[in-house]
Symmetry: C2
Subunit: 327 residues, 2 copies
């Protein structure tokens, strides 16, 4: 099977959408950006053994590679439009590619994003996606717009993906915590790791309400730290307010280990955003309409950096860092 055959397989399954004047099959794609919109572009790569365990199913890899990019579009409040896929494969394996496309294109269809180009090359397994979205001119959510006094919010729940990595032995075990006896709990956590839900509808709903927004891919404290740095502010987070899934509570209880997963674990792909208290009810309402849970977890303050506060108001002594790919 040659490279051109792989591309033909991909082309045969890629679906179109509005704005694609020329898709896969030429030297480049031709796309139409409608008036009154800005183009939003992000690139995220997944490498085998670094971003996902080697034994991950191809369909899950495909889903996650696109989900990580859609999550970045979501955090800008953008509507997904088009993407490119650069796929490096150790060998031309049609079965693997079919599985990969199952996951990738299932998520693409859910969000109406068209695969318009890319390439396949020989090399260690690596998936580089560039996603393009559209947002109304001047409306994008950014990291540098947090204001003193803003509430800090997070969608969904935190820590499930990191918990799945702990249970699979890919992250250190937590002292005093035994693996759950009920296999369904581990399966639920693993689902969050392998099939994350990019919060695209939530990002769209927050346009005009949120001041700053970031997606939680490297861990809440690390990602919120970027917002603080870019906005020139500090953040106080109440650890007790961090939302936990039922599965996470069942597997890890209510101790410091569970909270560390929520504050420091990456790969959750929830949105963390700031908004003024005056729109508190509006935020809750639009996110409920979007079918996404949300929690207020802290406040934007003067200063710099993120302070993680325990229930008694004392400062968390050893805030866990985010995922660091190098070092």
């Amino acid at each position: 099977m040659a490279e051109f055959d792989l591309i033909a397989m991909i082309r045969a399954r890629a679906t179109m959408r509005g704005g694609v004047l020329l898709g896969i099959g030429d030297d480049a794609a031709l796309l139409h950006v409608p008036a009154g919109h800005e183009l939003v572009v992000t690139a995220d790569t997944l490498n085998a053994g670094v971003h996902f365990p080697e034994d991950t199913a191809p369909a899950d890899i495909g889903w996650k590679a696109l989900a990580a990019n859609l999550s970045d579009l979501a955090s800008m409040g953008a509507r997904p439009a088009w993407c490119t896929l650069s796929l490096s494969l150790p060998q031309a394996d049609a079965g693997w590619l079919e599985g990969f496309l199952d996951g990738f294109l299932e998520l693409a269809a859910m969000h109406g994003i068209a695969l318009v180009g890319g390439d396949t090359t020989r090399g260690p397994l690596s998936i580089a996606v560039t996603a393009m979205g559209l947002v109304e001119t001047g409306a994008a959510l950014r990291r540098d717009r947090a204001r003193i006094g803003d509430d800090i919010w997070v969608t969904g729940t935190l820590g499930d993906a990191a918990a799945a990595l702990v249970l699979a032995g890919h992250m250190p075990a937590i002292e005093g915590v035994a693996p759950p006896e009920d296999a369904r709990i581990a399966a639920a956590l693993r689902m969050r790791l392998e099939r994350p839900t990019p919060r695209v509808e939530a990002g769209r709903a927050l346009l005009g309400l949120a001041h700053a927004c970031v997606d939680v891919s490297d861990g809440l404290l690390a990602d919120l730290g970027h917002v603080c740095e870019r906005s020139g502010v500090g953040a106080d987070i109440e650890l007790a307010a961090l939302p936990a899934s039922t599965a996470l509570r069942q597997a890890f209880g209510d101790g410091a280990g569970r909270i560390a997963l929520q504050a420091g674990g990456g790969d959750d792909y929830e949105l963390c955003f700031t908004a003024p208290p005056v729109v508190r009810e509006a935020v809750a309402m639009v996110l409920e309409q979007a079918g996404v849970e949300c929690s207020r977890i802290g406040r934007v303050v003067t200063g710099d950096g993120v302070r993680a506060l325990a229930a008694d108001g004392s400062r968390w002594q050893t805030p866990p860092g985010g995922y660091v790919h190098f070092g």
Copy 2:
């Protein structure tokens, strides 16, 4: 050195250009596409040991990674605008990254393309670039527009890059051809392999004149074959008309071995295009003004596929295939 430090290094050196509302440093870039233009998007990946020899200098890798993408924009007649860079590195090596950026950003500055996002990850050396360009609405050059009777043209010269791979022992030696004694000849050929010139100005000049266009990255016969397939036509190529550099003639003479490099070798990044005979003089003139040599090498005919004809009119018996990354 952590991933964030690498990104900071890249961000500090990336230059801006018009249309960048938000560059590196948020979850995504925000870009403005001017009215009356289409967005042109291409993605091309280079992997160590597959697309370049392992001992290639970092600056040459950086140059070539961008050049391959700019060449795709050139073949559409697009003006380069923005790009993303997804860089997988075995370790966080600041010296390597500085060298890589020297080459990448030197070429970027020459073409006014802004690096607006991407990521750095740990993994085997791989460089995935997505390049975005702009072309006037409806004006793009495409593969599927060749017409019966068109002249077939190629810019510059062919075969130098493949010759450099032969001399370096990365492609099979050619029977009866000895390596050149003059080291400057080998150096000239190697320069074409490592620092290819994307024909951006030529692509722009050909808008309104050329019917179909493709860049020669996989080899002339293979790439022209794509044009034939997409346009539903055939092509007759005169092998004696294929343009050769002085260095290539000096190193490989005038035999079948040299012609095979020109017809089948990839990595030249010249443009192959078709245009009606009525604009023959106009084509020669605009390309001369763009400072790019050009040669007429054949004709678009009825049928399908590419026929490579020797000087006596006989058909080339074993047309060499293009580069095939898999198989």
